[in-house]
């Protein structure tokens, strides 16, 4: 279905990534947000708190990130589309509720505008060091979706995508921004509402008598109801059967956890969004995401000017990881160069996916600024040797 025009600020804007992200959420139909202030993400909810009273929805500033990350899930079960916004230290506090959203299949969106860590780290400066935390941060086995925009325009676009994917797969979706993308101001084009696709909630058409809250459809995703509709349903973070009742036995656990994981893993190709250039003749492929992809672009251009056959693979979707794509490329390229604003996180997945068929060169950065293009150029030249 199309976006509700009341939330869509159609036009050409000159705004930063944080503000664009908020507009993306509004366009996607988010009508509830709970937040706790943290640099460099706060502008997103500041804008939301300013915009939402005239759109028709609610913002509440909670007492901490634990509260914010569960209040949004209460709102979802009350019928709203909802999201929260944070950065490193707050993201750490939200981990338990990412797990709760996975287990209860609560569609919701978490925005993490990454800054340098560990701990309080670099509050006002960029990093991409929460990438593995986004994937593995909550306890237990699961798969989820994480997107990585590299411009304010993509902050808008991918936030909409995040909401749509969360509804389609009933999974929490992470939008992994970083301080530079969040605070970078560029042109953002917001289309007409009728040109924005919004995934509706998978609300059941079954009667309360026939409905089982956790009976999966063919794609492994169950249908949903909201509180106050007469279904008298139960939701729990405990291992549960298709009725939603706690059933803590190894067979129920096996069936549930495998389904939660496979509904995402098996849709890897449908979920994944990538930008590629010159992969056909590449001997070296630069794999990058977020702000680093823009520095990498310069490094790639410099290398090509020197005659190196270098290709680009930009991950707009980092999780689920494009394992098959990397594996296929690994058969015919010499090396992958992976620059990221951390000491080597996504590179581990690249290395794993190559299965030893190509070299992997990690271009690390502890955070606080971005790479210099020359660092990436040097790594490409080294890899091409």
């Amino acid at each position: 279905m199309n976006a509700d025009p009341r939330g869509v600020l159609t036009g050409t804007h000159f705004i930063d990534g944080d503000h664009a992200c908020c507009e993306g959420a509004l366009a996607a139909g988010a009508r509830f947000s709970a937040g706790y202030p943290i640099t460099p993400s706060t502008e997103i909810v500041e804008r939301f708190s300013s915009r939402i009273p005239t759109v028709g929805g609610t913002f509440i500033q909670m007492e901490d990130e634990l509260a914010a990350s569960i209040a949004i899930q209460g709102a979802v079960w009350g019928g709203a589309k909802a999201f929260t916004v944070t950065s490193g230290p707050g993201f750490s506090l939200m981990m338990e509720h990412i797990g709760y959203a996975v287990m209860t299949e609560t569609p919701c969106v978490f925005i993490d505008v990454q800054r340098g860590g560990p701990s309080t780290g670099l509050p006002t400066l960029p990093a991409q060091s929460d990438m593995m935390q986004a994937r593995w941060g909550s306890h237990g086995d699961y798969s989820l979706i994480a997107l990585c925009p590299n411009s304010p325009q993509e902050c808008f676009d991918q936030t909409i995508t995040a909401f749509n994917l969360s509804e389609k797969y009933r999974v929490p979706v992470m939008v992994m921004m970083d301080e530079v993308v969040g605070h970078m101001t560029e042109k953002v084009i917001i289309p007409d509402a009728e040109k924005i696709y919004v995934e509706p909630r998978r609300h059941t058409k079954k009667s309360p008598e026939e409905f089982l809250p956790y009976e999966p459809c063919e794609d492994g995703v169950p249908e949903m109801v909201h509180a106050g509709e007469g279904y008298r349903f139960h939701v729990t973070g405990l291992t549960h059967d298709e009725r939603g009742y706690p059933a803590m036995t190894p067979p129920v656990q096996d069936k549930l956890v495998r389904r939660l994981k496979s509904k995402i893993d098996s849709a890897n190709r449908q979920i994944g969004l990538y930008e590629t250039e010159n992969l056909e003749d590449a001997e070296v492929v630069v794999v990058s995401y977020g702000i680093t992809s823009r520095v990498a672009q310069r490094g790639i251009e410099m290398a090509r000017a020197r005659g190196v056959r270098v290709g680009k693979l930009r991950l707009m979707t980092v999780w689920p990881f494009p394992e098959q794509l990397i594996r296929t490329l690994a058969k015919r390229v010499t090396a992958f160069v992976v620059p990221e604003l951390n000491l080597g996180q996504v590179v581990l997945e690249v290395e794993r996916a190559t299965g030893g068929q190509a070299r992997t060169v990690s271009v690390t950065h502890a955070g606080g600024s971005v790479h210099r293009p020359e660092q990436i150029l040097d790594a490409i030249l080294e890899a091409a040797k």
């Binding site: 279905m1 509700d4 009341r6 009508r31 509830f32 709970a34 009273p53 005239t54 759109v55 028709g56 929805g57 609610t58 509440i60 909670m62 007492e63 901490d64 634990l66 509260a67 914010a68 569960i70 209040a71 949004i72 899930q73 209460g74 709102a75 979802v76 079960w77 009350g78 019928g79 709203a80 909802a82 338990e96 509720h97 709760y100 509706p200 909630r201 609300h203 059941t204 058409k205 109801v225 909201h226 509180a227 106050g228 509709e229 007469g230 279904y231 008298r232 349903f233 139960h234 939701v235 729990t236 973070g237 405990l238 009742y245 706690p246």
Partner: protein
């Protein structure tokens, strides 16, 4: 002669997920009694069950949500109140009950408890206080009185415990009462009463944990605890909450301590927005109705809310 003539159905049964019985609670535990009182209150207050949601945290009392045939949410440890806050604000027509234990609500969830009371969010909080962490094996809770043996204070507790009515009154609750599981009629009446009371309401129910509290402290079984509640409870409606703290074997002051009026969170929000934004303010309830029409999604709004 039909079976129902011989044994008329228990009026409470309609509220229970009987397919989940037997429950996990121990013999002599008070939680079942509180559920009985809760369901009686639903009958007496004529609560619209299709617009009632119950939210629990983790622990023995956190299991209540799973046993009642209502829209029910068993959330994470300590976070029933913020979940309920999101649920209530997104769907204001719901009556939202938070049903959980003392450890869940006042230790790990203590920050949420005071802030929800401060905001005066329209939540009905029922706190079953068994003075201990029961589910995990009888560890010290913030509510455990001094000189009590617990599994983590094997030589006796010594630090000061929370006086929950005093805490939530100070934080801003509009209704605060305490009863024990001996006071079933008073408790049912109190629960029925808070369904008519807008704002943050808090009922503390003192309840035995014979398995881990009474037995470990040589205080007898569930029946002995009932006798203790009967003998040592003193009804003092309107008592200053600063004077209702509990100790190991002393008097238990019960009654309705606080019943006052203060604008509820959503009223304050709406008023503020209307004062500052005027006609530009879009009430979320009205907006949700319009959207449901737009989407023709199931489960929309009821007539009268869209005025």
């Amino acid at each position: 002669m039909s079976l129902s003539t011989i044994a008329p159905a228990n009026p409470v049964e309609q509220f229970l997920r009987t397919d989940r019985m037997p429950h996990i609670w121990c013999p002599g535990c008070g939680i079942g009694t509180t559920v009985n009182c809760f369901t009686r209150a639903l009958i007496d207050a004529k609560v619209d069950l299709d617009n009632l949601a119950i939210v629990s945290g983790i622990g023995c009392s956190g299991r209540v949500a799973g046993y009642v045939r209502l829209d029910s949410f068993h959330t994470t440890h300590g976070r029933a109140i913020p979940f309920a806050t999101g649920l209530k604000l997104a769907n204001p027509k719901l009556q939202v009950v938070v049903y959980s234990g003392d450890g869940d609500l006042s230790a790990i969830g203590g920050n949420h408890l005071i802030h929800a009371a401060r905001r005066n969010v329209d939540l009905k909080v029922i706190c079953v206080n068994n003075l201990i962490y029961a589910m995990t094996g009888g560890q010290t809770a913030p509510t455990t009185p001094a000189d009590v043996i617990t599994s983590t204070n094997p030589y006796g507790t010594f630090d000061t415990s929370f006086n929950l009515p005093h805490l939530v009154e100070a934080a801003g609750a509009v209704y605060v009462a305490r009863w024990t599981t001996y006071h079933v009629r008073q408790l049912s009446r109190a629960i029925a009463e808070i369904f008519q009371k807008p704002g943050f309401c808090f009922i503390e129910i003192i309840s035995p944990c014979p398995t881990l509290y009474q037995r470990r402290n040589k205080m007898g079984d569930g029946l002995d605890t009932m006798k203790y509640y009967k003998e040592k409870s003193k009804v003092k409606n309107g008592a200053p909450t600063s004077e209702v703290g509990l100790d190991k074997q002393g008097e238990i002051v019960v009654g309705k301590f606080v019943d006052r009026s203060r604008h509820e969170y959503r009223e304050l929000l709406r008023e503020q927005m209307q004062n500052t934004l005027g006609s530009r303010y879009v009430d979320p309830v009205a907006a949700e109705c319009a959207e449901s029409d737009h989407e023709t999604a199931a489960g929309g709004c009821e007539e009268g809310l869209c005025s």
